[in-house]
């Protein structure tokens, strides 16, 4: 059929025979894509008199927005915190591998490291889009070094720091620069943290609270100064107490400034959080739940010893410990495993499980105008899943970048 598409001659792909996640529901609708973005087919029909050039039969699959992992430390033998001359190839390798898990964008995470590492690693990797080469990099997640000694978890004690120069200067001195940084995790009880929180927020960097012994008021103050995330809820923070809920209390705090929301990361690998705790958090604040893998070097590798930051870890089954201890130091679950486990443990709907890995992280990072959903105009980063939420294929900007069995 001849067409007089007036807006663009670029080819149009129509995904048929699928259920798409839109407006918080799985709907039997076709998904239209042009020039890497979701297209409004009604506008195409009436305004441009256009139609699809190519049809992709999804055979009844679910189409969800591509998953976004805001906390991943490495994988497949790569450790993002290990200083090297070629950080970007390590990140690229992981970026490509995680396409199999439905992840289309991520924040490579660096654990507490000496300034020399930040100065070396940060400039090497710029924020960039994904494609066949791998998932897109949204910017680094710097987890530390401004964290609490008591809650350091697997982070190396000798590199922890405080805001001794007032906050802003400490950031620049430690990290070297803040370009290509999407998120910073810090402990708000550290003196002068507020100034650091404000500085980061001003630069559009998401501030997360974690590895901290802050009480609820300190946490609330940090939120009022701009913090909007909690790093792996329950882990590396004071436990919930009914007279001082601590950071966990942010989930139901009434001190959150109007129009703002606190999100919280959950490692839903069945190990870091007891399913009952997962359910309590989810039921208390369902719209803030963000699934993260917190995956470490060993993710994707066989059992044994591997390096994480400046330390050595040991893999036993699905558990990863600091070698010689019983301290968990990260998980080896993949994002799609987390989505499935979260759904099964919380009893939530398919839509909620999928949004925890897509819409919510996008909202957290302030990029939901183009990622994390299938709204018209959003980037066509997609994951095709079967009913059990296993990944069948992954698309970035409308282009197939991974297919099971290919």
């Amino acid at each position: 059929m001849p067409s007089n598409k007036s807006v663009s001659d670029a080819p149009i792909t129509q995904f048929i025979n699928c259920r798409i996640l839109r407006d918080h529901h799985l709907q039997r609708e076709d998904l239209w894509v042009r020039e890497g973005r979701i297209l409004d087919p009604e506008k195409l029909f009436f305004d441009e008199k256009g139609y699809a050039d190519e049809r992709v039969d999804c055979e009844g699959s679910i189409i969800a927005p591509g998953f976004i992992d805001v906390q991943i430390n490495g994988g497949y033998g790569i450790d993002f915190s290990q200083p090297s001359n070629d950080v970007s190839s390590g990140i690229s390798l992981v970026a490509q591998k995680i396409l199999e898990h439905g992840v289309t964008s991520f924040c490579p995470t660096l654990v507490t490291s000496p300034p020399s590492v930040y100065h070396k690693v940060l400039p090497q990797v710029k924020v960039h889009g994904g494609g066949r080469h791998g998932a897109g990099v949204l910017g680094f997640h710097l987890e530390g070094p401004f964290i609490s000694l008591e809650k350091k978890g697997a982070h190396p004690e000798q590199y922890l720091r405080t805001f001794s120069s007032g906050g802003k200067d400490d950031l620049m001195e430690t990290y070297g620069g803040l370009d290509n940084v999407a998120m910073v995790t810090l402990a708000p009880e550290l003196p002068n943290s507020q100034s650091a929180v404000r500085e980061l927020c001003q630069r559009g960097i998401t501030v997360s609270l974690g590895h901290s012994v802050a009480n609820l008021s300190q946490a609330e103050e940090a939120v009022q100064a701009g913090a909007s995330f909690i790093t792996h809820l329950f882990n590396a923070m004071l436990p919930f107490h009914h007279r001082d809920p601590g950071i966990v209390g942010l989930l139901t705090s009434d001190q959150i400034p109007p129009g703002r929301m606190v999100y919280y990361g959950m490692i839903a690998d069945g190990i870091h959080t007891n399913p009952a705790a997962l359910r309590i958090a989810h039921r208390a604040h369902p719209s803030g739940l963000v699934l993260v893998t917190d995956a470490i070097t060993a993710m994707g590798l066989p059992p044994g010893r591997h390096t994480l930051g400046q330390q050595v870890v040991e893999i036993q089954g699905l558990h990863a410990y600091v070698a010689g201890t019983t301290t968990l130091c990260g998980s080896i679950a993949t994002m799609d495993m987390c989505v499935r486990h979260f759904k099964q443990a919380s009893g939530c709907s398919v839509e909620e499980a999928l949004e925890g890995a897509s819409l919510h992280p996008a909202q957290l990072l302030g990029i939901s105008h183009k990622k994390g959903n299938l709204d018209y105009g959003s980037d066509a980063d997609l994951v095709l899943l079967d009913d059990a939420l296993n990944v069948k294929a992954t698309y970035i900007s409308g282009e197939e970048v991974w297919r099971r069995g290919a």
Binding site: S3, E42, K43, F46, E48, K49, Y51
Partner: protein, 286 residues
């Protein structure tokens, strides 16, 4: 006039869909010879559209060589508004079939010059060779399209102010807020529809019963604009039992073919003929 009475909404929707489907297939449209179809919106034709989509999906019917002309559209309502007739047609019909978008015509209620838009629409119909089959519905006040009571029976496509009855009937689609309902519409005229080779009017539900009785048992009257079709050579009214509630028993019996033996034969055979040529192509009616 032919009056085809089916048991219920589902049956009448199916009968109408089969009729339209068979008309298109018999016409055997092609690149040089398109089938032109006039189309309505609203709750009455919804079931018919569902059936047509089904026939398309099963491979029995293609709209590749069909041109459509909708009857009407609200003035001033954004095209993307869920209650616009563009939205209705896209969601309930066009997105499910293989029609070429360039051949799907709907009046533009947001055109800069509404009168010019109406004029152009009439010209487009002419250019397409006129309408083969115009499908329509009927309002509770007996209007066809938005040709409200008092509309000229020889009217053409134009801007119309909606009657209070119509606005009230539509309020349910606008959060029951009368202030949100559009007050004007572009509509094909009674004359425009009369120009079609054939007219098929769908009427279902008890609330349409009075309108149907005025339209076919009384005289031609501009207060019940559907009555104009009494003067069209080939009009078929398809309705369900409920829509016949205000008709005379005599009328209903005649069209159901249960009159005296000598006239019954003619009528029944006539209806059987219609059935055979136009409906049974796709199998028995339930």
């Amino acid at each position: 006039m032919r009056l085809v009475i089916l048991d219920d909404y589902a049956q009448s929707s199916e009968w109408a869909a089969k009729y339209i489907c068979n008309r298109i297939i018999q016409f055997n449209p092609s690149e040089d010879r398109y089938f032109t179809l006039g189309l309505p919106t609203g709750s009455t034709p919804y079931g018919c559209y569902q059936k047509l989509i089904q026939y398309h999906r099963s491979g029995d019917l293609s709209f590749k060589y069909v041109k459509t002309f909708n009857m009407d559209e609200y003035v001033g309502l954004p095209r993307s508004h869920p209650q616009s007739y563009h939205s209705y047609m896209w969601n309930n019909f066009f997105k499910h079939i293989d029609i070429n978008p360039a051949n799907a015509h709907i009046l533009d209620g947001n055109a800069d010059d509404l009168e010019e838009e109406c004029q152009k629409y009439e010209e487009k119909i002419q250019e397409a060779g006129g309408i083969q089959l115009f499908v329509g519905g009927i309002g509770p006040d007996g209007h066809i399209a938005f040709n409200e009571p008092g509309s000229s029976l020889v009217s053409r496509t134009r801007v119309k102010t909606l009657a209070k009855d119509t606005i009230m009937a539509n309020a349910r689609f606008f959060d029951n807020d009368l202030s949100k309902v559009p007050t004007m519409a572009l509509t094909v005229g009674v004359g425009t529809v009369m120009d079609a080779k054939e007219v098929l009017i769908l009427i279902t539900g008890a609330h349409k019963a009075l309108a149907l009785s005025r339209a076919i048992e009384e005289g031609v009257n501009h207060m019940w604009t559907v009555s104009a079709f009494q003067q069209h050579p080939t009009t078929t009214f398809v309705c369900d039992e409920d829509a016949t509630l205000e008709l005379r028993v005599k009328t209903v019996k005649y069209f159901k073919g249960t009159r005296t033996p000598d006239t019954m034969r003619d009528t029944v055979e006539c209806l059987l003929q219609i059935h055979k040529t136009h409906v049974d192509r796709l199998g028995e009616l339930p």
